[in-house]
């Protein structure tokens, strides 16, 4: 990745060169985000207000192993950016470098314009919530929350007031006298957030805060985090997760990471609706990737683009410029596909190979006849009219053109 690729790209950017995703991440600047996601999203940094977090060229190596390679990201005041990626993709490394828990091999970290790359963590004033919460087991909840305030020599009365306020904020006011071991996982998580917020940090880093909780609790706390986000309009939040649901629910922008690199960065809804790469399409929303041939030369976002899948020619929405005959991937979310009788007009011939009841929907798996061997997942509300397992079916693509992404970045 070169420095030029990190500059915010505007929505009307010229077609990107036909480079692989690794070489040129698709990055949209924070300024663009505000326009892209509409109300509720704060304005991005302007020349007079530096971003709350400004990471440039951040690289972390342990001997031969590269944990993070030339990472760039700006997070504006009041903005939430999710770092999304599989384990080992380097997302926690970014967080640790910003918090000061590790020394980067190269690159800079600036907080509201101040270079903190070589500053100790206790000088940075960042709120951090780690995966296992790390509540101090020998201190009561109130002492845990007061820890940062006491370290900063905040007067006693003020400390008491702010501890109560922080616990109130996360709904844990009644638990001040408890020890961490007397709390459930969800309660511990709330206390950890209260402890991080008590010092009123301008920047909050959350490292997979919900990953240790069960599914129902996770959904509850996700709602609480959304509410908390609304209560903290000025705090920049960096949220590390491997769970796309959390990223979609909380983030203004999502940075998708893979193999120690930034792959894609854009406003959340745009990244979901129009993923620029195969990897992001598959990782964010588990989209089907159907190999297709580009019918004619087309520019990024061209309205008249078409792709050929098997015998079918369908309209497509190219994520970058393509040449005629080039192989690309059509991105189709499982819930946008329909299953019809075999041979129905305008459907892709396939064989139904599996069905899984998920309560609200059925997840069907089909193998395409052409290109053969490609598995397609499809969510349907009812099994009425769906042929039996092993029978031929027709797969109906969505009415809106599917996004067309370059191949070569398998999950």
């Amino acid at each position: 990745m070169n420095a030029g690729a990190t500059k915010p790209a505007s929505a009307a950017a010229p077609p990107r060169p036909a480079a692989s995703v690794e070489d040129a991440p698709h990055i949209a600047g924070a300024a663009e985000t505000a326009a892209g996601t509409g109300a509720g999203v704060p304005a991005g940094p302007t020349p007079t207000t530096p971003p709350a977090i400004d990471i440039t060229g951040l690289t972390v190596r342990y001997g031969q192993v590269t944990a993070l390679e030339a990472f760039d990201l700006q997070v504006a005041r009041g903005e939430t950016v999710a770092l999304l990626g599989p384990s080992g993709s380097g997302k926690s490394t970014v967080l640790k470098a910003v918090a000061g828990f590790l020394r980067p091999t190269a690159g800079r970290v600036r907080l509201t314009g101040r270079d903190v790359t070589h500053e100790a963590p206790n000088k940075r004033g960042i709120g951090v919530v780690v995966q296992n919460y790390a509540l101090f087991p020998h201190m009561r909840v109130a002492d845990n929350v007061a820890f940062g305030l006491r370290a900063r020599r905040v007067p006693r009365a003020e400390t008491a007031r702010r501890v109560a306020e922080a616990l109130e904020m996360v709904g844990m006011a009644g638990y001040a006298r408890r020890y961490p071991r007397e709390l459930s996982g969800g309660q511990q998580q709330r206390v950890a957030i209260a402890r991080a917020l008590a010092i009123r940090p301008p920047v909050l880093l959350l490292d997979e805060p919900l990953s240790a909780l069960d599914a129902a609790l996770r959904a509850d706390l996700l709602g609480e985090l959304q509410r908390l986000r609304a209560d903290l309009p000025d705090v920049a939040i960096m949220y590390v997760t491997h769970d796309q649901t959390e990223a979609l629910a909380l983030a203004d922008r999502i940075a998708v990471m893979r193999d120690a690199r930034l792959v894609d960065l854009d406003a959340t809804d745009r990244l979901y609706r129009r993923p620029p790469s195969e990897f992001t399409a598959a990782f964010l929303g588990a989209a089907n990737l159907i190999p297709a041939q580009v019918v004619r030369d087309c520019a990024d976002g061209a309205g008249d683009a078409q792709a050929r899948v098997g015998a079918l020619t369908v309209p497509a929405d190219p994520a970058r410029a393509f040449r005629a005959g080039e192989t690309a991937m059509l991105v189709a979310r499982p819930h946008t596909l329909g299953i019809e009788a075999a041979g129905a007009d305008g459907t892709l011939p396939a064989t139904l190979t599996g069905s899984q009841w998920r309560g609200a929907t059925y997840r069907l798996t089909c193998l395409l006849d052409e290109p053969s061997g490609v598995e397609v997942r499809c969510d349907v509300a009812t099994m009425d009219g769906v042929p039996a397992l092993g029978q031929p079916v027709g797969i109906r693509l969505p009415a809106d053109p599917c996004v067309l992404v370059p191949t070569g970045t398998q999950r």
Binding site: V130, A134, R152
Partner: protein, 268 residues
């Protein structure tokens, strides 16, 4: 392992008794008998007396009890500070440094304790630091011998402690010193008290190095036991050994109680 059948349980208990009785219980029982024996010429003593036991807790022998306890407390204290400090420092040090620290600190237990005693004599019998002839050479020798155990115990405790605690404490604005005293050391308390118990027990029983270096006015209990039995006073030696056992037991019980109190406070 759970043994479910009644006969199986009986067998396991019998096996345990068979090993435990001659190896642990037997010598201890003999020691108690000998401490209170007047004459012992047959299988069991023919007469009984408390004279040896009174001698053992009187005069120079009582001094030995006090000397032993003081030595153990001081040596364990020094070993704990040095061992903990080194363990924490080594953990954050580069791997080669850590290996060297491991080796150096384990060396005193790898060599015979008389070697440590000899080393002490060679090092401290002349300036700049003249310790020979004072109690400090005994305390120093004990500290060197037990520091390995303190270091190993605290290192194991550190390995079980997630670095995230110290990281989060620092991110909240705590200076390294505050992180050490408010977070790291309190979290290490179970390891520290285990290390203290071990160091105390080892120091109370140390004889090899002590016998090389002890001055006339600082004779520990094990040295007394050794010299008494060496001079053929086996019964008095047994009585002194009994006082040594009791003193050690009391010391460890006190440490155990303190430890229990701390852990209680945390669990309620």
């Amino acid at each position: 392992m759970l043994v479910w059948s009644r006969s199986g349980r009986a067998f396991v208990w019998a096996l345990f008794a068979l090993v435990f009785t001659p190896v642990v219980l037997g010598p201890l029982a003999m020691l108690v008998i000998a401490a209170f024996a007047g004459d012992w010429n047959g299988v069991l003593p023919s007469t009984w007396t408390t004279e040896h036991f009174r001698d053992a807790t009187d005069g120079t022998n009582l001094d030995s009890v006090v000397v032993s306890i003081q030595t153990a407390l001081l040596a364990a204290g020094i070993a704990l500070v040095v061992g903990t400090w080194t363990a924490i420092a080594a953990r954050n040090a580069p791997r080669p440094v850590r290996r060297i620290a491991d080796a150096v600190l384990h060396l005193p237990v790898a060599v015979p304790s008389v070697v440590v005693g000899l080393g002490m004599l060679v090092a401290f019998s002349d300036g700049p630091l003249l310790l020979n002839g004072t109690k400090w050479i005994v305390i120093a020798a004990h500290a060197v011998l037990v520091v390995a155990f303190a270091y190993a115990t605290v290192s194991a405790g550190l390995d079980r402690t997630d670095q995230a605690f110290a990281d989060v404490a620092a991110s909240l604005g705590a200076s390294p010193l505050r992180v050490l005293f408010r977070v790291r050391l309190p979290m290490l308390l179970p390891s520290l008290s285990a290390a203290a118990s071990l160091a105390l027990a080892l120091s109370m029983g140390e004889v090899g190095a002590t016998i090389m270096v002890y001055p006339a006015d600082w004779r520990t209990l094990p040295v007394s036991v050794f010299t008494l039995t060496d001079r053929g006073k086996v019964l008095l030696g047994s009585a002194v050994t009994l006082t040594l056992l009791l003193a050690t037991l009391i010391l460890l019980t006190v440490v155990g109680l303190l430890r229990g109190k701390v852990e209680d406070r945390r669990s309620h």
